[in-house]
Each structure stands twice: as structure tokens, then as C-alpha cells.
Symmetry: C2
């Protein structure tokens, strides 16, 4: 498999750092770091994640959404290791001229997301810069020491998603369509454009259950295909997705994508994700798991199976997941070029009219 | 006492957040957040801090120093609560065009500081932006659950510093002098100017001892006077510093300050600090503490005593600590204006020749 640019960078940055003896996961092996406290049986989950590029690219404009996502990107990592959420530390780099209304919306987004996740703000740090940047660190507990990581699936395991997929890509596409329309017609206003609502909720309850049932788990913070690619690399397996795409995609996302003249599978490409969980369950334990999920009013979506050969087979077609995953970086973050290249990637897609997002 | 601008901001940002039931400290009450893990006796210390303004202002130019300080600002908070260091999560926002050599120096600074502190890098997050910004979150353990915070001193307690003070202010002053000289004479080169070396080492060993002896403790990350101001506010006390300034100040720092025609006490003003610990010990326990320190080859510097009336008396003169603390913000971060205002603050200082830092 081709190298992943992001993974190369992580390895480069971590070169020379020694791993902690009390750390239970290797680099990239789980969504949150798993630490056994020396001299105790307590296992902590710790994760840090920021909202930077989404603000710089203009994808997140509503301060409430920026605050909300600062919490959720971290809470979702706790969910993917099945941790009980404890608390959050905030790192806010504010612009010196931010007005009170903006600041209130930002902090309210943080507060509401924390309440939704059962996370308390433990503390934080504030700095000032010409660029607004937000990040946070979340802390959780692994109650009985049983670990859930990105590694552990076997060929034959069943592959699931926590809920319909594609909202992350659709939201980014919507911003692109909106930008095209704005360029064509009217000056861009402030705030988030109306349309598809994007407000992911970390799957903490579901993650807690998965820790007892799943063989591997990862959140789709970077989109579905990048997540599947990473799981394949770490497990030395492949995936076959048999479920009809329409049955596993978010209905509003599909509608928006088709209106833009784009094929459905682009909703799986990322790199902006929907923060659902992708996970695997052994074939033999599948029905027990599904019954436990139903008891909690949760209906996971079955996508397909883990395969012995590497690579992703998506509805009968093989997809170059490394290419998809590297593409956004390769085109320098140019969203229009990214969509063009994705279309070029799969010549077997139905011929579509010129994409309607350019607006010009 | 006058309100502190920074504290008002912290309170404003935290408005609406609920405190965690398992958190043992109130807002601002300790350098690191103290969390008792639910259902256990384990107390964690958690802190997050960034290096943002120092980079933007051009004070930190050497990538090694930036990496080093990203670790130390957090390790120093662990030291101030007497925590055993465990690990660190990094948040790096890199410029897309950073070259390999710069990145290597940055990561080497992080690695060396971690090794010096016994901290392991547990994980992290990388983003890209036009501005380099660094922050981290550090995790430590409070072994026996005995807490050391910023609160707890009583009038009569003895006031100490972990080592000579003033290097933080002197380093900032040196940058200012250098800038003046550069403007006058030659184009500014890259890297950190030669001269006073600034490479604080978090006082983790000392902090561990202090947890058994001290009644309050705080690091001088924002300078000495701001630290004393915060301790006075939280404890409802004052401080009398009797020690001759020369005996508690860093010799090289004094030399540099005098060469610039500035009075010694400006080395205590901040807002750039030296990351020493200020702490108090009950009068009756003072000799026991000093003996324990000597056993560890550590000679704390005695500054003075805790007083019942509020305010700081510095070598017989009362100083408006709130004014000093707010001043850098009030002058909009203009370092030259800041020094001018500090000089104006104390008209009783010896008349000095025009400060030599302007270079024009």
C-alpha cells in the first residue's frame, strides 16, 4: 500500500521521542492515548485535537459551531476507545478584536457540547493572535481496564457504522456550492449558510457498549475512506462494503450531492468527517452485539466484512484508498481541484453533467 | 485591590461552565487542575499552556527554545503543585513552509525538555496555519493525595523563591536592547541573539519536596510581582520583601539591567517570567524545611514574610502590584511603552540616564 502523507509527518515529528512505559497503545493505534497510572489499575484515556484548518478555510464560520466542534473532536476520540468522559482543558487563541457577541456564541457552543457529552471544563489557557485557533484536551476513564483500539479485527468480522455516513463531506460540499453561488450572485454574508445542519454528537454511549463487543474501532473524523484505510493498514486486512450506498448514507447528504451532479461515493471521501464510529464485531458475536444495541435503542448500520486481502472493495469496485486519503494534501487543500481529482479517480462512475458547485 | 484584566477575562470565558464535582481546586486556585478520579484515591494534576505571544512578538526566535518552552511552561505548572510528571500531549500548529532544519530543532527542543523533566510524549495533534503556535497539556500524579495550591498561607509564614529571580524580564529586556541596536546598526539576523541564556528548567524535584512543607506555591511564569499579586488576592494577605534585591536576583540579569540604565526592581515586573517557584512555609516549620532542602543540595532564597495587611512592601516601599500586572495589557503589548510606564510608576527610583535600549 502507498504511504500516507499524514502518517509520514506524524512519524517524523515523533522521531526521537521515547514512548512512555505506562502507555498501552503504540503511535496511531488508537483514537485516544491509553495510560495505565503507575502503581494502580486505573487506565486513563487522553486525547488532544484542534480546530484550525476548518476555521482558516472558512468552513466553520459560526462561532457556536467552532466552540461545539472544539469539544466534539475530542469527545469523539474518547468515544472511539469506549472511555467514560471526565473533563476537558481548553486552549483558546483569540483575536484581540473579537466582539462580545462572538465570544459569547463561542463559549456557549463549548458549554452546550460539554453538557451533551457529560464533560466538565477543568481549566484552560488563553492566548491572543491575529488568527483564531481552538484546541482542547479531553480526559476519560477506562473503567475495567478492557481496551478498545484501532487494532484487533480478523477476516470474517462484521463491519458496522454507528449511524448514516456522509454528513462531513456533504457539509464541506455545501460550503463549496454556497461559495460558487456567492461568487456568481451576491457578496458573502457572515455566519454559517443555511441548509444541511452539521452538529456531530460524539458517540460516547455507543463507544461504551462497543468496548465489550468490538474488535476494533475508529471515528470518522477524517471521513469514511481515510478511516477504513487506516484500519486496514493497522490490521493487515481489507474491507468489503456490500451494503447499497444509499442504505448507509445520510439522506440529506445524498440529496445535496446528487443536486451538485456528483456520485454518492464522494460522501465517503473526507477529509472533513462526520464523527461516527466505524467498528468490527466477530461474526459469532454479531447477534449478541446487535441485541445489546437494540436494548439501548441503537441500530448500527452494517457495512460489510473484514477480508484477508488488503484494499477496499466498495460495491464490487476496488478503490485506491491511499490515493483518496492523500489527495487533499496533494492538491494543496484546493477543494475544487480535490473534487475534480476524485471524479477523475473513478472513470467508471456514471458520466455526470459539469458539477454545479462552481456557480460561474 | 484593583481588578486584574487577565482574571476578568478568565472569569468571562468560564461563565456558564459548571465545575467538575471531582475537581479539587477552584478556578485560578492552583497552577495545575487537581482531579480526584471518581471511585479511586488517585489525584491527577493536569495543565495546559501555550507559547503563542512570545513567538508572535519575536521574543522566541530559536526553534529549539520554542520547543523547550512548550514543554517547560507546562512542566512548571506540575512543579508548582508538587506533582510527579507522567506525560505530555502536544498541539503543534506549523507553517506549511517550515523547513526540515527548523522542524528538527523544534522537535529536539521538545525532546530535550521532556527528558530533563521525566515527561514522555504521549501523543499530540498537528495542524497547519500561517502562524506557528505551540501548546501542550501535561499530566502528573499527586502520590499521597496531599495538595499544594496557591492558597493556604498565613501571616507570619516565611516567603521563599526556588532560585535567583529576574531572568525572564532580563531576557525580554535583552531582546529589546538587541532590537534597538539592530535598528541603529545592522539588519536583524535569524536565531536568538547571543548574551544572557534563557532556558528555564521546571522545579519538579523542588515542588515534590514543597508539597510536604509549603502552605502555598505558584510559579513565576508571568514574573515575580504578578505572582505575588495573585497569591495576595487568593490568600487575603500581603507580602513584605526584606531581602536586599541584589541577593535574590540573577547576577547576569542585574548586570544587563544596570547596563541599560534601569533599576533592579524592574526585573521582578514580568510579564515574561523565569519559571521559578514562589512559596511560603510556616514560621515554626521553616528550619525543618530548610534542612530537608539542604539534604537535596537545594538552597531556597528567603524573600521575606506574609503580612496581614494586603499589598506588597518591597524593601520599604509599597508597590502597586495590580498596576504592574495590568500594565503590559494596558499599553497594548508595546514593550518600550511598558518600560517607560514602569519607570513612571516609581518616581522615587534613582534618576537614571536615558535608557540605552532604544538605540536610536
Amino acid at each position: 500500500m502507498d504511504a500516507i502523507i499524514e502518517n509520514r509527518l506524524i512519524e517524523r515529528l515523533a522521531l526521537g521521542f521515547t514512548r512512555a512505559p505506562h502507555q498501552l497503545n503504540a503511535t496511531r493505534e488508537s483514537d485516544a492515548e491509553l495510560i495505565r497510572l503507575p502503581g494502580t489499575d486505573v487506565v486513563l484515556a487522553l486525547t488532544t485535537d484542534g480546530v484550525v484548518e476548518e476555521i482558516e478555510a472558512g468552513l466553520y464560520r459560526d462561532p457556536y459551531l467552532i466552540g461545539w466542534m472544539t469539544v466534539m473532536v475530542n469527545a469523539s476520540d474518547l468515544a472511539a476507545v469506549g472511555a467514560q468522559p471526565l473533563g476537558l482543558l481548553l486552549n483558546q487563541t483569540l483575536k484581540p478584536d473579537l466582539d462580545d457577541r462572538y465570544l459569547d456564541r463561542l463559549q456557549t457552543g463549548i458549554r452546550d457540547a460539554c453538557e451533551a457529552c457529560g464533560l466538565h471544563v477543568l481549566g484552560g489557557d488563553v492566548n491572543f493572535s491575529a488568527r483564531l485557533q481552538m484546541s482542547a484536551t479531553a480526559l476519560g476513564l477506562i473503567p475495567d481496564g478492557r481496551l478498545l483500539t484501532r487494532r484487533g479485527c480478523q477476516p470474517g468480522d462484521r463491519l458496522f457504522a454507528s449511524a448514516p455516513l456522509g454528513l462531513g463531506s456533504a457539509f464541506a460540499l455545501q460550503a463549496l456550492v454556497q461559495r460558487g453561488a456567492d461568487r456568481a450572485a451576491r457578496p458573502r454574508g457572515g455566519g454559517q449558510p443555511a441548509g444541511l445542519e452539521y452538529r456531530p454528537a460524539a458517540r460516547l454511549r455507543e463507544g461504551g457498549l462497543l468496548r465489550a463487543h468490538a474488535t476494533c474501532c475508529m471515528d470518522t473524523s477524517d471521513g469514511v475512506i481515510p478511516t477504513l484505510d487506516e484500519l486496514m493498514r493497522l490490521n493487515g486486512t481489507g474491507f468489503r462494503v456490500d451494503a447499497p450506498l444509499e442504505s448507509i448514507l445520510h439522506a440529506g447528504a445524498v440529496q445535496l450531492t446528487r443536486a451538485a451532479g456528483l456520485p454518492d461515493w464522494l460522501l465517503l471521501a473526507g477529509p472533513h468527517g462526520e464523527f461516527e464510529l466505524l467498528f468490527t464485531v466477530p461474526e459469532a458475536a454479531g447477534e449478541t452485539f446487535l441485541a445489546a444495541a437494540r436494548e439501548r435503542d441503537w441500530r448500527p448500520l452494517e457495512l460489510g466484512v473484514v477480508t484477508a486481502n488488503d484494499g477496499l472493495e466498495l460495491n464490487g469496485r476496488r478503490l485506491d484508498t491511499a490515493r483518496v486519503r492523500n489527495l487533499f494534501t496533494l492538491v494543496g487543500g484546493d477543494v475544487e481541484a480535490y473534487v475534480r481529482e476524485l471524479l477523475a479517480l473513478d472513470g467508471t462512475l456514471r458520466p455526470s453533467p459539469a458539477p454545479r458547485y462552481s456557480g460561474s
